[in-house]
């Protein structure tokens, strides 16, 4: 079972992460929520999630919370992704494939500017 192989390594990685987190946290608290109902998953929510995580990893973006929600009743707009940037109101995006997710991560999550083209009118 490989999970144990690297407990030592995990300790080291955790220390590093702790140091870096102190140095450059994302601006305020940013929350990214991916809709993972049956409709979301069928429309590609896992790829959307993968793209979000990939962006965090490749850009060493600290302080982003990633969670999920179920179907929110707009199945035709899936995959749906929501962003809460600091104390600003929640922004809901529709038809967020992997590329759009990357754009949202870059422009909104990292720099605080919503990607208007994909915002759903709620």
């Amino acid at each position: 079972m490989p999970a144990i192989k690297s407990l030592e390594e995990l300790k080291r990685v955790r220390e590093e992460a702790l140091q870096k987190k102190k140095m450059k946290a994302a601006p305020g608290n940013v929350q990214v929520i991916v809709a993972m109902g049956t409709c979301g998953i069928a429309a590609g929510a896992r790829d959307t999630m993968k793209s979000v995580l990939n962006f965090i990893e490749t850009n060493s973006l600290s302080g982003v919370t990633v969670t999920q929600t179920g179907c929110i009743g707009m199945c035709e707009q899936e995959p749906i992704l929501q962003v809460i940037f600091g104390d600003q109101p929640k922004v809901v995006y529709g038809k967020v494939n992997a590329e759009v997710a990357e754009q949202i991560m870059k422009q909104h999550v990292q720099n605080g500017m919503p990607v208007k083209d994909y915002v759903l009118p709620i």
Partner: protein, 189 residues
């Protein structure tokens, strides 16, 4: 849904919605007996017999947003189309277990798909759930390969450090991807 891995994610989301605290996803590929078995077991609120019967019906859902559910019936259909079937074992208050069986070599069997991405997405988006992921492959000669991931130690070690910190994410993704790659059967796409 075109992957077994996506169906597993869908079923596991049901388990999470049913307030399962411990959820186990298990995949067995057995070329000796030509069988692919995939299951999700949880200790959530479970279902009474009547509800359990109804979730197999495409027109049943707990959704309040529309009138069709479809998750489990679609998986059942996919399993039956490839010479297998689906079973749901549950009792009110006692969790649930969904198991889908496919004939491995059946031409209509959908691909297993990207298990690692499914596991990582679930692990990240439900940090409070205790996850166990098991993959077991048995090749034609009876050689067994296992990958078992239990997140208990990982979470103990991380403490209050979120799994979404980039360094941690890279570590965990590597762990799961490499583990599955190392034990996956060569026949699996």
């Amino acid at each position: 849904m075109r992957e077994i891995a996506l169906h597993l994610m869908d079923i596991a989301e049901n388990s999470a919605a049913a307030e399962g605290r411990n959820i186990c996803i298990e995949v067995h590929e057995d070329l000796q007996s030509d069988l692919l078995t995939a299951s999700v077991t949880d200790d959530g609120r479970g279902m009474d017999a009547e509800t359990a019967q109804r979730v197999l019906d495409p027109f049943y859902t707990t959704r309040t947003t529309r009138k069709v559910g479809l998750g489990i019936p679609l998986l059942k259909l996919a399993a039956e189309m490839s010479g297998g079937g689906l079973s749901l074992v549950t009792e009110a208050g006692k969790g649930a277990r969904v198991e889908a069986r496919f004939r491995h070599s059946h031409i209509d069997r959908m691909p297993l798909g990207d298990l690692a991405s499914t596991f990582l997405a679930l692990l990240v988006s439900h940090p409070k759930i205790h996850w166990v992921f098991i993959y077991k492959g048995i090749d034609k000669n009876g050689n067994v390969d296992n990958f078992e991931f239990d997140d208990t130690e990982l979470k103990n070690e991380l403490g209050d450090m979120p799994i979404t910190e980039p360094e941690i994410l890279m570590f965990v993704r590597g762990l799961i991807e490499e583990g599955i790659q190392a034990s996956a059967l060569q026949t699996t796409a």
